[in-house]
């Protein structure tokens, strides 16, 4: 027991010093742009009802969803196709330079599902990016060093309500043409 106490103190001290890595969870920092768009129309995604969530882990086979999703922007935004993100701490990933982390971004409707897990369980994932890597940068950090440099643009399927409205519109047009 006497030997265990110093060991526990040491482990506790190490844990308190350990710092998790962070990433700039934003897709509005790239040139050229890497927007999220709707499949079919190609229109950039907007609307605060849509959330982007960061999935991450050391293995692509087992990614963990970050607990803080980011909403897409208002429909009048000057940055359509981007979400309103920010810094995300990668819990359990040490802030050791050159550590490679697997990442993916998923999108769901936050008015239909309270969380990513609920959306996943309910078949409400509207789209996901390809899995990409993020390398924990070496200090001193340049301003772009924590960006998701390997993130690539991806598409999501329009929501059922959007599809429904589209179908109604098409049907109305069809009816109008038939009357003429």
């Amino acid at each position: 027991m006497k030997k265990l106490i110093p060991l526990l103190v040491l482990v506790g001290a190490m844990a308190s010093y350990a710092q998790d890595a962070t990433v700039n969870f934003n897709n509005n920092v790239f040139t050229p742009s890497r927007f999220v768009t709707y499949s079919g129309s190609g229109a950039p995604v907007t609307g605060t009802n849509l959330s982007a969530v960061l999935l991450y882990g050391t293995s692509a086979a087992s990614l963990t969803a970050h607990t803080i999703p980011a909403r897409f922007r208002v429909t009048t935004t000057s940055q359509p196709g981007t979400w309103n993100g920010g810094t995300r701490t990668l819990n359990g990933i040490p802030n050791t330079p050159q550590t490679v982390v697997q990442m993916q971004v998923a999108v769901y409707d936050n008015t239909r599902f309270a969380s990513y897990a609920a959306a996943l369980a309910g078949g409400g994932i509207l789209g996901t990016s390809t899995i990409f890597t993020y390398t924990v940068p070496t200090p001193p950090l340049g301003p772009s060093d924590t960006d998701m440099a390997n993130f690539t643009a991806f598409t999501i399927v329009p929501e059922p309500s959007v599809i429904g409205l589209g179908l109604i519109g098409a049907a109305a047009l069809f009816m109008l043409r038939r009357r003429k």
């Binding site: 710092q19 998790d20 890595a21 962070t22 990433v23 700039n24 934003n26 509005n28 922007r73 208002v74 009048t76 935004t77 000057s78 940055q79 309103n84 920010g86 810094t87 701490t89 802030n95 940068p137 200090p139 001193p140 950090l141 340049g142 301003p143 772009s144 924590t146």
Partner: protein
Amino acid sequence: MTLDRRFVILRSHTEIKLSHMRTKTLLLTAALCAAGAATSMAQVYSVNMVGYINQSIPAGFSMIANQLNNSPDNRIASLFPAPADQTRIYKFNGAGFTIAEYADGEWNPAGLTETLAPGEGAYIFAPAAFTHTFVGEVALTSAVNLPPGFSMIGSTLPQSLPLTGTPPAGLGYPIGDGDKIYRFDGVGFIISEFADGEWNTPIPTPNIGEGFYAFNNGAAKSWNRTFSVGP
């Protein structure tokens, strides 16, 4: 008052004799003037310093520091109430950045409490070049913590002087062997290292309003400054 058959000038009971009072008033005024003149001739010092800094911020990334205590506070949202859309501020937190973004008419994340107080440095991303005016009071006594490793800081005083000179000729930075200073030039870093008692470059001289990375090669220490106003 007694009635008189003749026409007389009746004086009220509250009549005041002005002739004596005029003399007293004149004497008092003269005394006050003399006292005022004596006061204005003497040197009077303010106990604080307030002012403003017009800082040119280029398009793209640059590293800045706020060197005046803003009123009511030094929150980013108070310092930059309505910058250009897509303006971003990156504060180094030891592992990465805490990022604030101004988009669609508001700072994000919502309820942003992040500060840029004197002594703190940050990257700013400006979509277009602009001039920002920092307004506030100079911190006459200040301390900037320098933990081991990297921190992003700035001088608390708006002075462009050699970092390690003794005040008032320098900024009084507590340099140690193996310490480094990284100044961002918009593309990369200008690195200065202090080793074996000397700098390997000319002594870094940050500009007014410039932030920089400090690498502390030793134990935690503090960069303390005291600035006196008056004689």
